[in-house]
């Protein structure tokens, strides 16, 4: 018999790995977008549309990985929309983000209605805990391959932003649009590209929601994960690897409620469900300052000034 504390900690470990994956993808996507000096607040809508697309395509083709790809493509389309609209003069990227959030969620609910009932094939997890005797630890270590894909992507992005010509161009556009223009770089073109890439990541994050954990499609699937991930990028100081760590922290916070339920604590379920939002707010308060802008922030960013 395991003690309740161990059970809760094991459930939180498993929860942190499961819950963090969508945070990780959205945060990585937003990180790339913000590195180029633009904010996309619409990733919440992208996440929901990605979840719906992945579920629908997985249902029709029978292959969840095709679903993941389709979710990425759907996310890219929304990202490209945001990127091209914000490329026009006088258009505010934060406001367009809010509009894209409402639009993406609306489109997802519209086309997602017929897929609430059917069961689509889900992504298979890798049982990393088969060495363990404890059933709780085993289920905690049922890790989805997308988790590792996300970590690999974070390393790849961190390397590419630091060491490649592409990374230099993105960072220059983000820090000083005038300097980038003087270099002969198309500022709007680069931002369109990074917003599209960001949308792809957020779409894949959505695919995880519907195809792995919680692993079904319904209208209450995402409530603010996309938005929290945007706040998380500030906390991660625009560094891909820190995004992964921050996502794990958020995953653990999000897993508190379900973990306590696992040992029979149902009191305050809604309160613990609110834990990630409260944590996000506390982190934003702790890391912001009225006097100076956040450390390592891209200079062109209109938000968080």
């Amino acid at each position: 018999m395991e003690s309740p504390v161990v059970i809760v900690l094991e459930a939180m470990l498993g929860g942190a790995i499961r819950v963090s994956t969508p945070f990780m993808f959205v945060a990585l996507g937003e990180c790339v977008t913000e590195k180029s000096g633009r904010v996309n607040l619409g990733l919440e809508g992208t996440l929901v549309l990605g979840a719906m697309t992945a579920y629908a395509i997985s249902f029709h083709t029978g292959s969840p990985w095709v679903g993941v790809l389709a979710a990425g493509v759907a996310g890219s389309v929304l990202g490209a929309m945001h990127g091209s609209i914000c490329g026009l003069p006088k258009v505010n990227d934060v406001a367009v983000g809010i509009a894209m959030m409402l639009f993406g969620v609306g489109v997802a609910f519209f086309f997602g209605k017929p897929y609430i009932q059917p069961v689509a094939p889900r992504l298979q997890s890798i049982p990393l805990g088969s060495w363990s005797e404890s059933p709780n630890l085993r289920s905690a270590l049922e890790v989805n391959p997308l988790f590792f894909v996300g970590i690999a992507a974070a390393f790849a992005l961190a390397w590419a932003l630091r060491n490649t010509r592409w990374g230099l161009v993105v960072r220059t556009v983000g820090d000083s649009a005038a300097a980038a223009r003087a270099m002969g770089v198309s500022v709007n073109g680069v931002r369109l590209m990074t917003t599209t890439i960001g949308g792809f990541f957020a779409g894949v994050g959505g695919a995880f929601l519907s195809l792995s954990y919680p692993g079904s499609w319904n209208q209450g699937l995402s409530s603010g994960q996309g938005l929290m991930a945007v706040a998380l990028v500030i906390f991660a100081r625009w560094k891909p690897l820190r995004c992964v760590l921050a996502a794990l922290l958020f995953g653990a916070a999000g897993a508190i409620g379900p973990s306590l339920q696992a040992v029979g604590v149902t009191q305050g379920y809604y309160f613990f469900n609110a834990a990630p939002y409260i944590l996000t707010l506390v982190i934003m308060i702790a890391t912001s300052s009225a006097k100076h802008s956040a450390a390592d922030m891209p200079g062109e960013l209109s938000m968080a000034k």
């Binding site: 929309m81 505010n92 406001a95 894209m100 997802a108 939002y277 934003m284 802008s293 209109s302």
Partner: protein
Amino acid sequence: MSDAPVAQSFPGAAAPAAPMAVSSSRWRSDAEFVVIPILAIVASFLLFAVFLLAIGKSPVDFMALVWRGGFGTSFSIQNTLQRSSPLIMTALAVAIPARIGLIIIGGEGALVLGGFVAAVVAIPMTGVVPPMPALLVMAFAAMLTGGIWIGICGFLRYARGVNETIASLLLTYIGIAIMNFFVEGALRDLSDPNKPSTKPIGRDYMVGSIPGTSVHWGFLFGVLLCLGLYLLMSRTTFGFAARVTGGNFRAALAQGLPVGRLIVACCAIAGACAGLAGFFEVAAIQGRANASLAAGYGFTGILVAFLARQNPLMIPPVAIMFGGIVAAGGLIQRRMGLPDATVQVLEGLIFVVLLTSETLYGRFSIFKPKGR
């Protein structure tokens, strides 16, 4: 850049606030702010028609149903006005902070919490306090709650530089969680097994209708609130100071304006408006607080405020238009077999096209004042 916590370029913040001397050139440049949004609406309806054709539905049927469900009969008009009431108030919750340069999108949370608190304070008063003072207490409690809720966003923005857009949406999720926590727990009415709700506030405490109609008083209060806040923002020292702060934060600081208090005050007014919407939803429609308070009025209100170019006087007509679309939603769902999210798609499309149209300002020579 770094020491300007609220100076953002912001669509609508630069809209004409107070009509000055009426001259033809003034009218010309003002017309731009009416013509371009109308063009945006027409363009989005055309795009939506293409979308409907693509999925094999008739746009003509759709428009006919919107007309019939929203504006065609006296019943539907009253239903529309009823639904436009929370839209007016939540749009004010966006428009007032916009004047001081903040994008607040947390009206939904202030509405839910305001309505919840109104229901909670009503329960111990039932049968003890006469209706009129009880309703005043409920409305005050709702406005205070909403005011504090959005006021927090303003305070955090000024004192800590926390992004108010994200903070206000986070507070919305937290607010809904707080209501659910109590409604499913300590304050649940156990006599109703179906939907977790608070106890009903009772028939005596229900706000009636405007005489001769079935529209509750919230609509009238909403319109009056728009008038009052228009005067506050355009004709008083407070409003002037707020607009200066929104226009140029450093100039406001240099003038010695109390920018912190102005920001918190604008946010508190915004929250109070949304809280009042929650009060009317409870005291005029639902009769109790439960999850149906979070019906998305706060989000449609954002769109209403942007379409009205953050001008309180333009909010009621725009809110009535969207109230009609929302009211027709059920009819569209039943008659055309479209999902309930159809209205959401249309709203999202209008919002996206509207913001895209921001780029058109100053592009047409017809709107330029003559001789300049």
